[in-house]
């Protein structure tokens, strides 16, 4: 370090502590701002990162294939044949896991209550590694085969229907012949799921049991698959569309557009929040530096009289700003790291965030730290903080020495 830089650093550091209370207050404000920026980014990212994974794991997958019209009207009429050899080959080559499902709207009726649900006929083996249901059973058992006529329902749905494990319920839907299709099922398992809408809105049976009830033959409602990487599915989509030109092949971003919109909106909200916090912080920073510069006018005149170039005076004030900002960043980041670590096991907002559930979001937030967000927050504070400090620094350097020295 050159002697001049060392001198500036010593002056900057010691000058900061001439007024410990003032320095402490602005440090607290800076740290608070950085803490809020990083923590909020962590929580927001947690929602954004967790939600697509949760939606994908719930039933969405990375890609879904349907008969044309199914997405607008998901009835039995819009079913499709099981995948042919060409489509199977693409699925086998490009997907980590895939499953063919029957999925239709239905009504489930217990002895006391009824509820509108989606009946999903699954191949229990295919769902492993694809959806949440194999690991979500909390009472009873998981389905054993495509012919399994046992019914899996959500625990909360069971409460709502006032039924329980081992009891029978009737499931009704429209059959392939447009006649009412209904059948009694014994509840063989209860599952938990987030969000609650999944737990109350879906019931699962073996796929063939569903096909028999709906008189569908071998036809299915959808194929869902997961690819090796969520955000690199373009070429797989092309191959799937080539293999199934008559079917509707869609990525998760089109199936769950709200998630994408939410992510974009959240990014904008984060940037706005960063700017609001920074603006508040910068007023404090500039005010502190201006007060320091005003109080030390005579000293700056002395520095000039002793031969310090104006740009070094600018450097000294900026040095004070850098130290303040660096300490504020260190404290703020440390506080944010502790906060996010404390919230690692999840922040439960269920008591006052029912809207989350209605929108399909989990009420429990798991923070997710994105290096880019932390870097952006830190760089924003550092760079804009230095820019904001230029004015006080310029003020300090523009004094005529003789007038500055005359100040009392």
């Amino acid at each position: 370090m050159s002697s001049t830089v060392r001198l500036l650093a010593v002056l900057a550091w010691r000058n900061l502590w001439r007024h410990p209370g003032r320095t402490g207050a602005i440090l607290f404000a800076l740290a608070l701002g950085v803490w809020s920026m990083v923590s909020l980014a962590g929580l927001t990212r947690g929602v954004l990162e967790g939600q697509p994974e949760r939606a994908i794991a719930n039933l969405t997958g990375h890609v879904q294939i349907h008969a044309p019209g199914y997405r607008d009207d998901p009835v039995v009429e819009h079913s499709m044949p099981p995948p042919g050899p060409e489509l199977r080959a693409v699925l086998a080559a490009g997907a980590l896991a895939w499953a063919a499902r029957v999925r239709v709207p239905a009504i489930v009726v217990s002895e006391r209550e009824s509820a509108a649900v989606t009946l999903v006929g699954i191949d229990p083996a295919q769902e492993r590694g694809l959806s949440f249901i194999p690991g979500a059973v909390v009472a009873g058992r998981y389905l054993e085969s495509v012919d399994d006529a046992g019914l899996l329902i959500g625990r909360k749905l069971a409460e709502r229907l006032e039924t329980r494990l081992g009891w029978r319920v009737v499931v009704m839907s429209e059959g392939a012949d447009n006649e009412l299709a209904d059948r009694g099922f014994r509840i063989v398992g209860l599952f938990d799921a987030e969000p609650e809408a999944i737990e109350t809105g879906y019931v699962f049976v073996g796929r063939r049991a569903a096909q028999r009830m709906l008189r569908l033959g071998e036809r299915i409602s959808e194929i869902a698959l997961v690819a090796p990487e969520r955000d690199r599915i373009d070429s797989l989509l092309e191959r799937l569309r080539a293999a199934a030109p008559d079917l509707d092949v869609r990525p998760w971003t089109e199936i769950e557009p709200l998630l994408v919109l939410t992510e974009e909106l959240s990014n904008v909200v984060l940037v706005i929040w960063y700017l609001i916090v920074f603006t508040a912080m910068s007023f404090g920073l500039v005010n502190t530096l201006l007060m320091a510069v005003f109080e030390r006018t005579r000293e700056f005149g002395l520095f000039q009289a002793l031969g310090m170039r104006p740009r070094l005076i600018v450097g000294q004030v900026l040095g004070e700003s850098v130290i303040l900002i660096a300490l504020g960043l260190a404290l703020g980041n440390a506080a944010a790291a502790l906060t996010l670590r404390w919230l690692e096991s999840g922040l439960d907002l269920s008591a006052f965030a029912e809207g989350f559930e209605m929108a399909g979001y989990s009420p429990v937030l798991y923070p997710e730290v994105a290096a880019g967000d932390v870097l952006a927050a830190n760089l924003l504070v550092l760079v804009l903080g230095l820019i904001a400090s230029l004015y006080p620094a310029w003020r300090a350097a523009r004094h005529v020495p003789v007038r500055a020295l005359a100040r009392t």
Binding site: S2, S3, T4, R6, L7, V10, L11, R14, N15, R18, R298, E299, L302, Q304, A305, L306, G307, M308, R309, P310, R311, L312, V400, P401, V402, L405
Partner: protein
């Protein structure tokens, strides 16, 4: 030998509430090397203004000022700062030490800006502090020193890098007579041993007694310029 300072027809006019105040009027002055001179006169006579102009702390309204061979009245502020850094030392009436630095660091301040290596800086600072009688007080901050001690630190800072010219504005104003005399003896010593040119502005009889040349100012004009035998 080239003089340390040359002033030609130097005038300075201040504006106070649209009234022009003529602080200096057509001052001509030549200060040879190793001179030890005193500007005296009543308040408002222009002593401090002349000192500030010679030190490049302010600019004349008209006229020409040459310091150490360089014309400074139209010099850019960066170059002027460099000239002050390397060729001019200042001693102020109010000491003007840097409060966050110790006595040694205050003395090192100018050398640090000059880029003198740390070890040499430290050695020279401690030497000069010992020379001004502040041995053992090097690590004290200004607030922990008496007025006389602070003024000696300021003198040490002004002369440590052996400038061509030291400008001292009322250097004894806040000192008791004993301390003031010691300080003046020190400055005479520096003048003789290190060949530094000293220019004082003062009301103090003691400073005038030590000076070899007295320049009287009144209403911004030089009214007397005489050489004399100094007290020490």
């Amino acid at each position: 030998m080239e003089p340390t300072v040359v002033c030609r027809k130097v005038s300075k006019v201040y504006r106070q509430d649209s009234v022009a105040v003529h602080a200096l009027v057509d001052v001509d002055l030549v200060i040879p090397r190793q001179d030890f001179l005193c500007l005296y006169g009543p308040s408002g006579s222009g002593k401090t203004t002349l000192l500030n102009l010679i030190g490049g702390l302010d600019r004349p309204t008209s006229g020409e000022i040459i310091v150490d061979g360089q014309r400074i009245d139209n010099m850019a502020s960066g170059a002027l700062a460099q000239l002050r850094l390397h060729r001019i030392g200042f001693v102020f009436q109010a000491y003007n030490l840097i409060p966050v630095l110790t006595a040694r660091e205050n003395v090192e301040f100018v050398m640090q800006l000059q880029g003198v290596p740390a070890a040499e800086r430290r050695r020279r600072a401690l030497e000069i502090l010992a020379e001004v009688g502040l041995e053992g007080l090097a690590d004290r901050r200004p607030a922990e020193l008496s007025g006389g001690q602070q003024q000696r630190v300021a003198v040490a800072r002004a002369i440590v890098s052996e400038p061509a010219l030291v400008l001292a504005d009322e250097p004894t104003a806040n000192l008791d007579s004993k301390t003031a005399e010691n300080l003046m003896q020190l400055l005479v010593h520096m003048n003789r041993e290190h060949g530094v040119t000293f220019v004082f502005s003062t009301h103090d009889r003691l400073v005038m007694d030590f000076s070899r040349r007295l320049i009287g100012l009144r209403d911004g004009r030089i009214v007397e310029d005489r050489r004399r035998e100094a007290a020490a």
